[in-house]
């Protein structure tokens, strides 16, 4: 069961680059790119951190793929 991420869309709405979001989250730009493209599923702590950055609940960023 995979995870669908809204990270790309939300980041674009904020006008942030991947590098800027990565710096805020304390991860590499490659990690943000991998999450956005669905290759990498973040840990719960990183998902919570990203939700905190966007000031949204976690399920607004990530959802289970049907």
């Amino acid at each position: 069961m995979g995870v669908i991420s809204q990270l790309h869309q939300l980041r674009r709405e904020k006008g942030w680059t991947q590098a800027e979001l990565a710096a805020r989250a304390g991860v590499s730009r490659q990690t943000i790119n991998s999450i956005e493209t669905g290759r990498f599923e973040p840990s719960l702590s990183l998902a919570l951190k990203l939700a905190l950055i966007f000031e949204l609940p976690v399920d607004a960023l990530f959802a289970l793929a049907p």
């Binding site: 990565a22 304390g26 991860v27 590499s28 730009r29 490659q30 990690t31 991998s34 290759r39 990498f40 973040p42 840990s43 990183l46």
Partner: protein, 163 residues
Amino acid sequence: MYESTHRGAWFNWSALDAAEKRLMKMALGAFAVPWLVGLAEIAVAGYKFGRSLRPAERAAVGPEAIDLMGNSPLFQAMVLIAIVCTILGAMAWRQLGARQDELFRRVQSHALGRAGLCLLGATAFWWLLSLPGWVGAMPVGLFLYVDMLLVSFFSMQAWQRWG
């Protein structure tokens, strides 16, 4: 932060900060030493194998200097230096890893875990072959080299999957 390039075979130097660059230099520099000693060992083994194929009448000649290389203090010092450098490289790499994010750690866990399992299987297989005496003592150096190659292979595999 570490970012892989070339399908996991290399990394983006400019993405590392000053402290990470220093640790990477230390790790790569230290790991180069055992590789060089290993290459010398492989070259010597190849030379000995080639010499073993010579005609029987010439094989009766006594040991040459190269046969006694393993006993020389210089070679033993080289091996000791290689071991120390491996330990120093591992310590620098560990410090570098502590500064990385979960993607790096996941890749590293995958690579070390898979390589460890393969090596465990190979060790068990070698032990089974040694019971009837089909093989001699385990070549520990060779196994360490195979382990390093396996870690590199599984690391590239993981970067291609997640990175």
